[in-house]
């Protein structure tokens, strides 16, 4: 279990997150939503150990994150960052391989190959990363994260997957397949924390939904408790948007009602 206890973090005198306590539980897909500047990425940085909170504590199974070496943390959780650009022409396989190396794989190239096929990039192994499209690059990075935590549970200890806007720059099909892969990771006993902007996807995939606003948790729980007219109106300033069908001449797509 990864726990943030009353964490506060500020930069340049502004509180980015304020007194937040959340728990990531094994087997649970946690989604953080909230408007721009709500503190979602900061919360993820604090939870992943990348940023030190000004006060409060982040712990991985009872051990404070300050006491963990970077290499220990790397075996316990992987992080998918927002868009990454490279100045050097690594191949897709070489990028994914770095994740496998980070968790100490015996055959990192083979694990990287598996991870690439999990994100639908079989056959893209030798493509130079800088020549790939934004969506393909994002999936290579996802493969790197998967290669770093190839199994959701190792020796009874669950691993965690942190995804910062994993669906940005992906088409609809790949948005869903990335989140399904993450959900499988959670179902296998791992912990998943994802930041999402698409409330429909958030509502569909989250076991536990956290709504952030101005650095604070304003609502938390199952999606039917959190995606309500009141909360969406107060956080996003859009009233009456929940659960309504738009005017007849505007077509709309409901990916959550697709055939399975």
């Amino acid at each position: 279990m990864i726990i943030a206890d009353k964490v506060t973090a500020s930069r340049s005198g502004r509180k980015l997150i304020d007194d937040i306590s959340i728990e990531l539980k094994p087997g649970q897909f946690t989604v953080v939503i909230g408007p721009n500047g709500a503190g979602k990425s900061t919360l993820m940085k604090v939870l992943s150990g990348e940023m030190q909170p000004d006060s409060g504590l982040v712990s991985y199974y009872g051990t404070s994150v300050d006491l963990c070496q970077p290499a220990d943390l790397a075996r316990r959780r992987a992080v998918l960052p927002q868009a990454t650009q490279l100045a050097f022409p690594f191949t897709a396989l070489e990028i994914a391989r770095m994740g496998a190396v980070a968790h100490g794989a015996l055959n990192p190239s083979e694990e990287a190959r598996k991870a690439l096929s999990r994100v639908g990039l079989r056959g893209f192994e030798s493509r130079p990363y800088p020549s790939m499209s934004g969506g393909e690059q994002q999936r290579v990075q996802f493969a790197r994260a998967l290669a770093q935590v190839p199994q959701a549970v190792v020796d009874g200890v669950p691993r965690a997957l942190f995804l910062d806007e994993p669906t940005a720059s992906l088409d609809l099909g790949h948005q869903i397949s990335v989140l399904e892969t993450a959900r499988d990771f959670a179902s296998a006993g791992g912990m998943v924390l994802a930041i999402l902007h698409d409330l429909n996807l958030a509502a569909e995939f989250a076991d536990h939904l956290v709504v952030l606003h101005h650095g604070r948790v304003v609502a938390e729980g199952a999606c039917h408790e959190t995606v309500s007219d009141d909360i969406i109106a107060s956080v996003y300033g859009i009233a009456g948007a929940v659960g309504r069908v738009p005017a007849a001449h505007i077509p709309y797509v409901l990916p959550q009602s697709r055939n399975r």
């Binding site: 940085k45 992943s48 150990g49 990348e50 070496q69 970077p70 290499a71 220990d72 943390l73 790397a74 075996r75 959780r77 992987a78 992080v79 960052p81 990454t84 650009q85 490279l86 100045a87 050097f88 022409p89 690594f90 191949t91 897709a92 396989l93 070489e94 990028i95 391989r97 770095m98 994740g99 190396v101 980070a102 190239s109 190959r113 893209f124 192994e125 030798s126 493509r127 800088p130 770093q148």
Partner: protein, 356 residues
Amino acid sequence: MPFRRTGEGDRTSQGVLVLFLLAVLLVFSCLLSLHVGPTGVGLRDLFSYLTGNGDSLTIQERVILEAVRLPRTALGLLIGAGLAVSGAMMQGLFRNPLADPGIVGVTSGAGLAAVCAIVLGGGVLAPIAMVLGNQFLPLMAFFGGLLVTWALYAIATRDGRTSTTALILCGIAIGALAGAFMGLLIVMADDRQLRDITFWSLGSLGGATYGRVLSILPFIVFVMGIIPFVAKGLDALILGDAAAFHMGIPVQRLKKIVIVAVAAACGSTVAVAGSIGFVGIVVPHLLRLAMGPSHRFLLPGSALGGGALLLIADSVARTVAAPAELPIGVITALFGAPVFLFLLIGKNGIGARDLP
């Protein structure tokens, strides 16, 4: 199994093959460097000397080999390897294929200190020069490089994080400042000092002695020794500080080690041979084309390739205008600058795509 096929997208076997070819090239360039010169030492004699049967050599040939050629070859090998590896490390550290110890000001700092030594050695700095004797110039250059690296780190590091942009901009500023001071010193210099400065600034292996070889050996050995420990980290660092940390790399510690290594390699080579340009930028570039950007192969490859390039350049410098000798910096620039320009303006060159 060095030539095992490792499959699509994995350039491990390619890297091993290129390393092997570079090692062969390095052996040939060592033999070339020992062989050529105003007084030729025959290849047959050279082989018998190297295999322990030196009886066939005349005393004169023996003296040339032992007192002139061997230290010069050893020095060229160490300097070439040090320059190329420090270039490759710096480019990885800054995530920019154009970064080079010359660009972040390490070479300028070492150079300014060396010019100070040449011009002020007879005046203000005379007491220090008296104490240090022949080692005065090299030591000054080395400490100049170290001082710049330390200052860069102090200026560009905030909250325990080094900003790449700040570091490169600082380097440009330090380079400009060093250039200005160098100009002042050159105005103050007399004719003999001016000739020394010019010759030194073009770089030369001419003063090679076993003493100089031994004086830079520890620095170069240190830089080569850390390659296995920094290669994985530098690869991860290409994805950014945060991603490298996520993959278990102690980012700040890695950066400190690499910066010290670069200062050691660059300062010590400037000290013994003046500023020899383009080795640190051309060798890693060519190797990235041949084996990909992974530092697992790029760093050892740069060591082998840098040594070979410098020995070949020095052999050319000694022979084209014999018995006179061209400064080696002229040769590396003649080789290097066109390659560099080609990389910059070519269809897939650095200039053709946006750098983050």
